[in-house]
Amino acid sequence: MFTIIEGGGERPVDARVEDGRVRLSADALREALGWELHDGTLCNDTMCVPLPAGSRLGEAGAAFVGVSAGERAQTLGSLIAPDFTLSDLAGRPHMLSSYRGRKVFMVAWASW
């Protein structure tokens, strides 16, 4: 089993690593990443791209699906605060957008 790590979550998919390439079944590709294969082209809801020559090696059976700099820049440039849900110490989930109507002073910190 192979694991896709994305957006703070992870899910197992039907895939294997061969010669440093991750091979996903067409079903796994659609389920995990929302892309479909048509005549050597990968398509999702908004675009089609030629099939990449090879995926990055998913060491120890996992791959991280990141978001491109362009997409991040576009989102941040819109100035609409990207939404997220994270839990507090008690395990209670909080969604940023549920604080609409209040001014939010958001501060990232760490014990380190």
């Binding site: 703070g8 991280f64 820049a73 604080y99 109507g101 014990s111």
Partner: protein
């Protein structure tokens, strides 16, 4: 750390949301339990918020208005002067600015100013976050050696990202206050690069 500020301003439809970029809830727990905050403190072990907002160090603060718009982008704000002797950054002025904003005396930056002050991620930043994300997963699943390779690679791709370089130290069994951190900081600052770069004040 932010409790006094929150107590003072909460009736003005103001909230503090703190995000702990820690390797586990247990790492953040002693700090949270000691502070006993009544505002939300959320645990972000996978650096979801760091990725979404291009946060590269802590503390990093943003202002988000009632409509969910960023009106002051990523800035370094300390709640106390505990680290002033190291950072040269004092807390009084930025906290006064937050108060003025909460009271409606200032509305933060205009959209064009905010955009001008934002630091947007590069392709290398995002690649580094992917390496970190994979490394964090590998470490969590006991693949220590593989995780280490990806943590190192992440730090090479984004040497300015302390959430990756210093934030990964506790996961890797390295003391984040120890010699390796001091060496890293010295090399960084010694190269003429600032550890923290505060934004200008908002106009009243």
């Amino acid at each position: 750390m932010w409790q006094a500020l929150y107590d003072e301003l909460r009736d003005l439809r103001f909230v503090v949301i703190a995000i702990a970029l820690d390797k586990s809830a247990d790492d953040a727990r002693p700090w949270i339990e000691k502070a006993a905050p009544t505002y939300p403190v959320l645990i972000d072990t996978q650096h979801v918020v760091a990725d979404l907002y291009n946060i590269v160090n802590v503390p990093t603060a943003l202002w988000i208005d009632e409509r969910g718009r960023i009106v002051r982008p990523n800035d370094v704000v300390f709640g106390t002067d505990t680290f002033k002797h190291i950072t040269n950054l004092e807390s009084a002025r930025p906290l006064a600015a937050v108060r003025a904003w909460a009271r409606g005396e200032t509305s933060g930056f205009a959209a064009s100013e905010t955009r001008g002050l934002q630091t947007l991620p590069t392709a290398l930043d995002q690649q580094a976050r992917a390496e970190f994300g994979l490394a964090e997963w590998l470490a969590r699943h006991g693949a220590r050696d593989a995780a280490e390779r990806h943590f190192v690679r992440a730090g090479e791709l984004a040497p300015h990202d302390f959430t990756i370089r210093r934030g990964s130290m506790p996961i890797r069994g390295i003391d984040p206050m120890g010699p390796q951190f001091r060496e890293m900081l010295q090399a960084w600052v010694g190269g003429g690069r600032p550890y923290y770069r505060p934004l200008p004040d908002t106009r009243g």
